[in-house]
């Protein structure tokens, strides 16, 4: 059986609808009107041990709710989730000791104390034997460069340093499944890269399963081979990230730098001209003909430089949400054979 096995999972909320105005508030005091919100609506997928999977979706799509159901913080309204053979919302000790949750916007470390003290608290909470604790801590210290940080009070650390300590605190018990909710939010680019490298390295070293949500496409493209795209509580894509890009964007982008100005009309036979102003031009060409088009352009126009690029992932994904689903392969698990 897969390490994570989810079938027909749903989470609905009853939201109290408030009427506007004074009379409205009086009326709703006596007769409450509720609205059923389907935060997660009939989702199913399997994840194998050691996979790194990214959850994509716009704000309010149901990513965090799914993550909370999987980690046992929320009861599902319907459906079934099995993780490591456990039912998450029963929150058995032996289950909780094998998972962890990191929320980029919330911290669990004690603000007034050095991070080391919070590590010791977690050692006791997770019943970690002293030897294992020392060893894990040493390894995390090396991977995350914690040495100069752990003895400073958490409130004196920068946001990025604090995130490093949060990660360490969350991983001391060597969890087999990691739920990372926006782990890089608010960090600068250098620190984002650093955290990303760490997660990749941790996954490689310990074979832990990682489920990640992020606003930053770069997190997902750097870490995840496989993505689950959620929108309005529904799973609209599950599969290989690259395949999704190829399907959604069956074109590549040619960027030209010209020696002498050319009109847009002169370029249009080669593809769809997105931008052209004098000495620069951007053209979308079908994937299959991209190389040929580039070669023809080199012969036909006075080109200084030409590059062939993949379209930006952000644009693709936002296009996906606008459309609502991936054509011809909705919710089909297609990267199944690629799982490590």
């Amino acid at each position: 059986m897969s390490q994570i096995d989810v079938h027909g999972l749903a989470k609905h909320y009853r939201v109290h609808r408030k009427a506007a105005g004074f009379m409205g508030s009086v009326r709703s005091f006596f007769q409450r009107q509720y609205q059923n919100v389907k935060a997660v609506d009939d989702i199913g997928f399997q994840i194998e041990e050691g996979e790194v999977v990214g959850f994509l979706g716009p704000n309010g799509a149901g990513k965090t709710t799914t993550l909370k159901v999987l980690s046992g913080l929320l009861h599902p309204t319907a459906g079934r989730a099995r993780i490591l053979g456990f039912t998450p919302h029963e929150r058995q000790s032996s289950f909780l000791k094998q998972i962890t949750l990191v929320m980029g916007q919330k911290n669990q470390l004690n603000w007034d104390l050095p991070a080391m003290e919070s590590f010791i608290v977690n050692q006791a909470i997770y019943d970690i034997p002293v030897d294992a604790f020392r060893q894990t801590l040493a390894e995390l210290t090396e991977l995350l460069d914690l040495d100069p940080l752990v003895d400073k009070q958490v409130r004196k650390l920068s946001l990025g340093e604090r995130m490093k300590c949060e990660l360490a605190a969350a991983l001391l018990h060597r969890p087999r499944v990691l739920f990372l909710d926006e782990p890089t939010i608010g960090l600068d680019v250098v620190m984002q890269t650093r955290i990303r490298q760490f997660v990749a390295e941790y996954n490689r070293r310990y074979g832990a399963t990682v489920i990640l949500t992020s606003h930053y496409m770069a997190d997902v493209t750097a870490l995840c081979k496989r993505v689950l795209v959620i929108d309005h509580g529904k799973l609209i894509y599950d599969g290989d990230l690259r395949a999704m890009i190829a399907r959604l964007a069956p074109y590549k982008v040619l960027k030209l730098i010209l020696r002498s100005p050319v009109t847009c009309e002169a370029l249009s036979p080669y593809g769809q001209v997105v931008d052209c102003n004098g000495l620069r031009a951007v053209i979308r060409v079908p994937r299959e003909t991209a190389t040929r088009a580039a070669a023809q352009l080199l012969g036909a126009v006075d080109v200084d430089d030409v590059t062939i690029e993949e379209p930006p992932v952000e644009a693709i994904v936002s296009e996906l949400f606008d459309r609502g689903q991936v054509d011809d392969a909705p919710t089909q698990r297609e990267g199944a054979g690629n799982a490590p």
């Binding site: 909370k68 929320m103 007034d112 608290v121 909470i125």
Partner: protein, 261 residues
């Protein structure tokens, strides 16, 4: 065992944190002294006009003041800091970190922090009790001492249970962060022996909000006035309230994870 170890780590950390704010110690000490002076001045005014109030003499009533101060210290040191943090965690969404730990959530939420300096009240309360007993020339029998200790223990459990229920109500009323003020207002009545109050209030303070069990009865036990059946009632009440607060907590946590967003 594991839970005892956790408690010791929690409280060691609280101690470290509080060491940073040493000025708090002096401030709390003075505050305790002020409030004690107030309670004693109150007694003075009563006994300036009467020899006895509610069949209690001056130093006997002072014993009640001592227990009032002792339990007040426990409230402020142990219960209040955890209450305000749980409410904050529920509001900020960090309560999830409590739920995801492989440790009893009620234990984690209600006993995590200790405001060590507020224990000044406990020390002063004990001091007042000893002083009053010396002035009374009171040497309680072994049985009375055990009964007194039993009442103190029951009182602590009763207090804890009532507080936990208030904490739990925060799952519903997140906006009301000063809910503890209501209890404090009722707890004020514990400054004086319960027999000082009109009979209907006595009933309320014994059976509805059992403040009498917290401050009056331990003092009565030391004075040899509390009969054994009363101790059984106290034990029963403490056990019942404790079970009640555990059930309420479980229900609230379950509801939190099935309905909240």
């Amino acid at each position: 065992m594991r839970y005892l170890r956790l408690l010791s780590i929690f409280y060691r950390n609280s101690l470290y944190t509080e060491m940073e704010y040493r000025a708090n110690f002096i401030a709390n000490f003075f505050m305790s002294a002020f409030w004690l002076a107030f309670a004693i001045l109150g007694l003075h005014v009563f006994f300036y006009h009467r020899d006895q109030i509610g069949a209690w003499g001056y130093y006997e009533a002072m014993l009640v003041v001592g227990f009032y101060s002792l339990f007040n210290g426990l409230i402020e040191a142990l219960l209040q800091p955890n209450l305000s943090r749980v409410i904050e965690q529920i509001r900020m969404g960090t309560f999830d970190f409590v739920l995801i730990k492989p440790v009893n959530s009620q234990f984690m939420a209600s006993l995590r922090h200790l405001s060590i300096w507020k224990l000044a009240d406990v020390a002063m309360g004990l001091g007042i009790c000893v002083y009053a007993m010396v002035r009374l020339g009171l040497v309680p029998s072994m049985g009375d001492l055990i009964a007194g200790a039993g009442f103190v223990l029951c009182g602590a459990v009763i207090l804890y249970s009532i507080w936990l229920m208030m904490v739990t109500s925060a799952f519903w009323f997140v906006r009301i962060d000063n809910i503890s003020e209501l209890f404090t207002a009722i707890y004020e009545t514990g400054r004086f022996p319960v027999s000082v109050y009109p009979s209907w209030m006595r009933g309320v303070l014994t059976f509805v909000v059992p403040i009498a069990f917290i401050t009056t009865f331990p003092a009565a036990a030391l004075l040899g006035r509390a009969k054994v059946p009363l101790l059984w009632v106290a034990l029963l009440l403490a056990a019942g309230l404790f079970c009640g607060c555990v059930c309420f907590w479980r229900y609230a946590v379950k509801r939190y994870s099935s309905a909240s967003s």
